[in-house]
């Protein structure tokens, strides 16, 4: 394989592949910073992918598709919030239930929407916007500066999220709730409200990540379109040390390995394809081994919050 010839395409695949993971992972950062491990990202992304596709197709307005997808993501994540925050149910179990329920809802909706009308099977896509000058930079220009507006927004979100957690009182409230909710409560922070807010943001961003798949990547919805990206987003949050910048780096790294996997598949055709397909997942496992210490991350992460508990 001529690596330099393949590199621009690998980098393009990297940025395209990183965006949905980045959006979902940023949502998860909000959730985990507030002490909620939401492993239901995969399901929320599936809802976002379908609703974005269907509303975009019906209305012809892809941005409306995105907004409705985010609302749908919030709605489905409220189920998670109610179970884990109000009922104090186990977060992992509830997340898994979301992962089973949400794709089933999406498939049900898809069958209603497309039915026997195959004209509805292909949707519309956002156009890429090439930034003059920058998009012509060799190797990286097309990858980073010829993207859809949604992708640019995802990357712009990274410094905003970082700034929010570092410099905003609300950001500090999120962090204190994730570290020690009882102490936060004594300081006057409404822990339950913060956790619900975290679920709203998480649902919206994860659904936006799913919607990216159908509005910017490919103009179709298929059952299983998320392809494990929700779980990879979870891993990138750990690998990225619960910070927005770290998550960006981890998402790009995962995207790079995914792009490399495809490039190797394309060029070494007689080699076992499954070997190359394992590369991004091996990376994920390795990342979890080295960065998945249970002592890292918010101290109260994953623990139910009982207001009366001492």
């Amino acid at each position: 394989m001529d690596f330099m010839t393949a590199l621009p395409t690998i980098l393009k695949a990297m940025t395209m592949g990183a965006v949905p993971i980045l959006l979902a992972a940023l949502g998860e950062v909000f959730s985990e910073r507030a002490g909620l491990v939401n492993i239901g990202l995969e399901g929320v992304m599936a809802i976002g992918a379908f609703v974005g596709f269907a509303v975009g197709k019906m209305t012809g307005n892809l941005w409306l598709g995105l907004v409705v997808a985010m609302l749908a993501g919030v709605l489905i994540n409220m189920l998670y919030a109610f179970c884990t925050v109000t009922l104090c149910a186990d977060q992992v179990v509830t997340g898994m239930a979301i992962n089973i329920l949400a794709p089933a809802i999406a498939l049900f909706g898809y069958n209603l929407f497309v039915g026997s009308n195959s004209a509805n099977a292909t949707g519309d896509q956002m156009a890429s916007i090439a930034i003059p000058g920058l998009s012509s930079i060799p190797f990286i220009g097309n990858a980073f500066f010829n993207q859809t507006l949604l992708a640019y927004l995802a990357f712009i979100l990274v410094p905003l999220v970082r700034y929010f957690f570092k410099h905003f009182r609300a950001g500090l409230s999120f962090r204190s709730v994730g570290e020690n909710p009882h102490a936060a409560e004594t300081l006057g922070i409404d822990v339950v409200r913060v956790k619900y807010l975290a679920c709203i943001v998480c649902g919206a961003l994860a659904a936006a990540g799913g919607a990216f798949l159908t509005l910017c990547y490919t103009p179709i919805y298929t059952d299983g379109i998320v392809m494990g990206r929700g779980f990879i987003a979870l891993a990138t949050v750990i690998f990225g040390r619960w910070s927005a910048l770290g998550v960006l780096g981890a998402s790009l790294l995962f995207g790079f390995f995914d792009g490399l996997n495809v490039a190797l598949q394309a060029q070494f055709q007689s080699a076992p394809v499954m070997f190359f397909k394992m590369i991004p997942y091996i990376f994920t496992i390795v990342a979890l081994i080295f960065f998945g210490s249970k002592h890292a991350g918010p101290k109260a992460n994953g623990q139910p919050y009982f207001r009366e508990q001492r």
Binding site: V93, L107, G115, S118, T122, T218, D223, D258, G259
Partner: protein, 374 residues
């Protein structure tokens, strides 16, 4: 006291968790079940079947691995069934069972057996291994029930069957399909570089690609082929990335796909590279149209369901025969051409198609020679 409260609280939580989990699971199962039938209930075919079942002589049902709107394998089967129904007015269709997992395949078939459905169709060779027991039981208890399994070679894939009396299979001529696509690719490529994406490394996939490349090389021996046989059937982004990589590194300008949703992704990459210079050959349904700017034609497979219906009506169905779908009996055809295929090229395709039909365009040896390199 606080310990007691904690214990009580924990007990309450367990109950709540159980309720939450129970409701979630039931909801998901119900929705998944409804999802499978939702699309079908909206179709006029299925809604008619219930009311007409008393008047019709025969009932047919299809059990599918995917959904009828997947734009590929399952939709191809569904459209074949609809075509057969149009020419067989005595037959009515029951709700197709979509998204049927291997674990549920036997139960799904048994449901139709219990309804005395005359013809139960399984759309893929995985059903051959799933149905051995159902077929054996039905042969005794429901002798009027027949089974048709597509893409299956009964001599190698149904050796564990106690009886093949109520069973037939359908085997398209994959070599003809591949050769047709290869002729189109060979005539349309300007860069002498063509690509192929298959969902799974099956013998049929390899035969298709080998015939595809062999036929293209007949047009121009300098043509090179790129392939991937294990792209799966759902990850459209893989199709996009793979095709982009081939365009960038190998200058591929014509693609043929056998991987349902992944093919959609490939078409995205071709369109981005320029729909006037990069072309796609679709499969297995005809999708040429304004909404598919890169698709120049389609290799269309008909699953010969009409022939199976005829045989059931005449009482000659069964015995483990394999119905071959080929260019002679309409099992394999080329679809419409887009306006990007000039009349001159269309005439050549027609001429070469006759040779493929006669078996003189590519020989078995030429196809095998490529097969042996894969």
């Amino acid at each position: 006291m606080s310990e007691i409260k904690k214990s009580l609280s924990a007990a309450m939580l367990d109950r709540r968790q159980a309720i939450v989990l129970g409701l979630g699971s039931v909801g998901a199962l119900a929705l998944a079940g409804c999802g499978g039938s939702g699309s079908s209930s909206s179709s006029s075919d299925s809604s008619a079947s219930g009311s007409d079942s008393e008047q019709s002589s025969y009932k047919v049902a299809m059990i599918m691995s995917g959904i009828i709107t997947d734009g590929g394998w399952d939709q191809g089967h569904y459209e074949s069934l609809k075509r057969a129904l149009e020419s067989h007015p005595k037959w009515t269709m029951l709700e197709p069972k979509e998204n049927t997992a291997d674990a549920d395949a036997a139960t799904a078939a048994q449901t139709y057996v219990d309804q005395d459905v005359d013809l139960i169709i399984g759309n893929g060779n995985q059903f051959a291994s799933d149905w051995a027991e159902v077929v054996a039981d039905a042969a005794d208890s429901h002798p009027k029930v027949h089974f048709l399994i597509t893409n299956t070679d009964p001599t190698t894939e149904m050796t564990d069957y106690e009886t093949l009396d109520p069973v037939e299979t359908v085997l398209p001529d994959f070599q003809q399909t591949g050769a047709l696509a290869g002729v189109v690719a060979g005539l349309m490529t300007q860069t002498k570089s063509i690509g192929f994406i298959g969902g799974m490394k099956l013998p049929s996939t390899i035969t298709k690609y080998s015939a595809y490349l062999a036929a293209a090389k007949k047009i121009d021996p300098s043509i090179q082929g790129q392939y991937n046989f294990e792209a799966g059937f759902t990850d459209a982004s893989l199709g996009t990335n793979l095709t982009q990589q081939w365009i960038a590194s190998n200058n591929v300008d014509v693609m043929w796909g056998d991987a349902s949703a992944v093919d959609n992704g490939a078409r995205q990459a071709l369109e981005a590279a320029g729909a006037d210079t990069h072309f796609d050959i679709a499969q297995p349904i005809d999708i040429v149209g304004a909404d598919q700017p890169t698709v120049v034609t389609s290799t269309v497979t008909d699953w010969m369901i009409g022939q199976a219906m005829d045989e059931i009506e005449s009482g000659s169905f069964g015995g483990g025969k394999a119905i071959t779908g080929n260019m002679d009996n309409g099992g394999i055809t080329l679809g419409k051409f887009s306006d990007k295929v000039s009349q001159d090229v269309q005439d050549k395709i027609k001429e070469y198609s006759e040779q493929i039909k006669a078996g003189t365009f590519v020989t078995d040896d030429e196809v095998s020679a490529i097969q042996n390199t894969l």
